[in-house]
C-alpha cells in the first residue's frame, strides 16, 4: 500500500515537471530568440505625453512623463505593462494600451493587437485546473490541451480524487468539440478514455488497490472572462469498466479555470 503510494508520488513529481515544461515552452521560444538578438525596439511618442509608472501596475506611482516626439526603447512586457527606457537612461513602465499613442521610427503604427476571445481559438495550448465533486470525493483535475481547429481540441487529463473511503487517480485523454467557439459562453462536449487507480482507505481492512479502464463523456461550457482567461464548467459521466460483474458509473461536477497560450 505504502509502496504504491510512493510510486505515485514519483508520478506526481513527473506530472509537476511536465506541467512546468509545458506551460513554459511557448513562452521560452520567444525568450530565447530575444536573448540572442540584440535589436532594440524603439518608438517615438505621438501624443502630448505618456505617463511612466515605477512598476507594472496602476497602483505604482507615476514618477515621469515622456513627451511628444521623445524616443523610448521598449525593453519587455509583463501582463498589460511595458517596460521602457528613455534616451536619458530612465527606466519605467507604461500601459500597454498607451502603445497606440506611439509610432515606430519608420512612421508605422506598432502592432499591438487587442487580443480577443477569437485569438485563442486556433493553434493554442490550454492549461486548466478544476475542482470537482467525484461521487462525494473531492477531485482536482489538471488538463493540458491543444486546439487544432476552431472547433476541435485534444487534451490530457490528470485527476486526484480524495474521498472518505478511498482515493483515486485518473489519467486519460479526450477529444473536445466546441460547436460555437465565438460565443462568450461557449458550450462543448467531449469523449475520452483513461485509467483509474483506486486506493481504498488504509483503515478499512481487506482491501486492494485496483486499476480499471474508464470511459468519459462530458458536457460543459467555457466562459470568456478576460484576455486569455476562461472559466470552465463541466459535467462528466465516468464509466468505469471494472473487473467485477457490474460496471460502475460516476457523475462528476467540475468548475475551474483555463488559460490559453
Amino acid at each position: 500500500m505504502i509502496a504504491s503510494v510512493s510510486g505515485f508520488r514519483l508520478l506526481r513529481v513527473y506530472i509537476a515537471i511536465l506541467f512546468c515544461g509545458f506551460i513554459a515552452a511557448p513562452a521560452h521560444a520567444q525568450w530565447f530568440s530575444n536573448w540572442f538578438t540584440d535589436e532594440e525596439s524603439q518608438v517615438s511618442i505621438n501624443d502630448a505625453f505618456i505617463n511612466v509608472y515605477s512598476g507594472p501596475g496602476r497602483g505604482y506611482p507615476i514618477f515621469h512623463v515622456v513627451e511628444r516626439d521623445e524616443i523610448i526603447t521598449l525593453l519587455k512586457s509583463r501582463t498589460t505593462w511595458i517596460k521602457i527606457k528613455t534616451r536619458r537612461g530612465l527606466v519605467g513602465w507604461i500601459k500597454r494600451e498607451d502603445m497606440q499613442f506611439t509610432l515606430a521610427l519608420d512612421g508605422s503604427k506598432p502592432e499591438f493587437p487587442d487580443n480577443t476571445q477569437a485569438d485563442y481559438l486556433v493553434d493554442r495550448f490550454e492549461l486548466g485546473g478544476a475542482y470537482g465533486d467525484f461521487a462525494g470525493a473531492d477531485s482536482l483535475t489538471l488538463n493540458l490541451g491543444y486546439r487544432f481547429t476552431k472547433n476541435l481540441s485534444a487534451e490530457l487529463r490528470f485527476a486526484d480524487n480524495t474521498g472518505q473511503f478511498s482515493d483515486s487517480r485518473i489519467m486519460g485523454g479526450a477529444v473536445l468539440f466546441q460547436p460555437f467557439p465565438d460565443w462568450r459562453v461557449s458550450p462543448f462536449f467531449s469523449v475520452g478514455a483513461g485509467k483509474i487507480k483506486t486506493f481504498p482507505s488504509s483503515t478499512l481492512v481487506q482491501t486492494e488497490d485496483r486499476e480499471d479502464n474508464l470511459l468519459q463523456a462530458s458536457l460543459g461550457t467555457y466562459v470568456h472572462l478576460t484576455g486569455r482567461l476562461f472559466l470552465r464548467a463541466e459535467y462528466v459521466n465516468h464509466y468505469v469498466l471494472t473487473s467485477r460483474n457490474t460496471n460502475e458509473e460516476v457523475n462528476e461536477w467540475k468548475l475551474g479555470f483555463s488559460v490559453f497560450f
Binding site: M1, I2, V5, S6, R9, R12, A16, F19, C20, I23, A24, A27, Q30, W31, N34, E39, E40, S41, Q42, V43, S54, G55, G57, R58, G59, Y60, P61, L74, L75, K76, S77, R78, T79, T80, W81, K83, M99, A104, L105, D106, S108, P110, E111, F112, Y131, D138, L140, L142, D160, T162, D167, S201, S202, T203, T226, G227, R228, L229, F257, V259
Partner: protein, 219 residues
C-alpha cells in the same frame, strides 16, 4: 574630311563624357554609401511588433519556512512555486512543499506508543491557487533608493499526503512581495492548509499554519 574629323572628335568626346559620367556616377554612388553608413545605425527602419518583446508573465520560486501540523509539532518546510500572472491583479500559483512531523504529546507521554511509522511522518502537499494583488506601492530604503512591493491574498485547493493517505486540502494565504529588481522578488507570506483527518478515530478538521520566506524569478 571635315565631317570625318568632326565624327572622330564627337566619338572621342562622347566616350570621354560617357566614361566621365560613369565615373561620376560610381563616385556619387560611393558617396551615398558612406553617407548611409553614417546615418542608418541611428534610425532603424523597422516595424514594431508585440511578439518581438520579451514577455515576463511566469514566475518560478523556492521557499523555506515553518509548517505547524496540528497535534504533530512544527517543522521546517521547503518547496517550489510556479506562477502565471494573468493580469496585474490576478495570478495563479502552483506550489509543492515537503516537511515532516514530530511525535504527538500522547506518544511522548505514554512512552512506547507509536501512532505513525517514520515513512508516515513525512508530509507533502501540492495546491493550485488563484491570487489577487493589492496595495501596490513603493518603499524607500533611503532618500534615493526605492523598491516596489505589494500585498496579495490567495485561495486554492490541493492535496496533502500524510500518514500514507491523501487529504483534500484548501489553502488560504496572504503575503508581502518585495521586488529587489523587476525580475527578482522576495516573498514573505503565510498559508493556512485545512483538511479533515481521522487519525485519532474521530473526524477532525485541522488547519496547519505555514510561514514562508521565498525568492522568485520572473521569466
Amino acid at each position: 574630311m571635315e565631317t570625318w574629323f568632326q565624327r572622330i572628335f564627337l566619338i572621342a568626346l562622347l566616350t570621354g563624357l560617357a566614361t566621365g559620367v560613369a565615373n561620376a556616377q560610381e563616385n556619387s554612388g560611393q558617396g551615398d554609401d558612406e553617407l548611409e553608413q553614417i546615418i542608418t545605425p541611428d534610425i532603424k527602419r523597422r516595424t514594431i511588433k508585440e511578439d518581438d518583446l520579451d514577455s515576463e508573465d511566469f514566475e518560478i520560486g523556492a521557499f523555506i519556512g515553518l509548517l505547524s501540523v496540528e497535534d504533530f509539532g512544527t517543522n521546517n518546510v521547503q518547496g517550489l512555486t510556479l506562477s502565471y500572472h494573468i493580469t496585474e491583479d490576478f495570478f495563479v500559483e502552483a506550489a509543492y512543499g515537503i516537511s515532516k512531523v514530530e511525535k504527538t504529546s500522547y506518544e511522548l507521554l505514554s512512552g512506547g506508543v507509536e501512532l505513525l511509522t517514520d515513512d508516515q511522518r513525512e508530509i507533502s502537499y501540492y495546491n493550485l491557487a488563484l491570487g489577487y494583488n493589492f496595495l501596490h506601492g513603493q518603499v524607500y530604503i533611503s532618500d534615493k533608493w526605492s523598491f516596489n512591493n505589494h500585498f496579495y491574498i490567495m485561495l486554492g485547493g490541493g492535496n496533502t499526503e500524510f500518514a500514507a493517505k491523501d487529504y483534500f486540502t484548501t489553502s488560504l494565504g496572504a503575503g508581502l512581495r518585495f521586488y529587489a529588481t523587476d525580475w527578482l522578488a522576495l516573498d514573505i507570506s503565510t498559508r493556512g492548509h485545512s483538511f479533515e483527518h481521522e487519525l485519532f478515530g474521530e473526524s477532525k478538521r485541522v488547519t496547519n499554519l505555514e510561514t514562508r520566506l521565498g525568492f522568485s524569478l520572473f521569466f
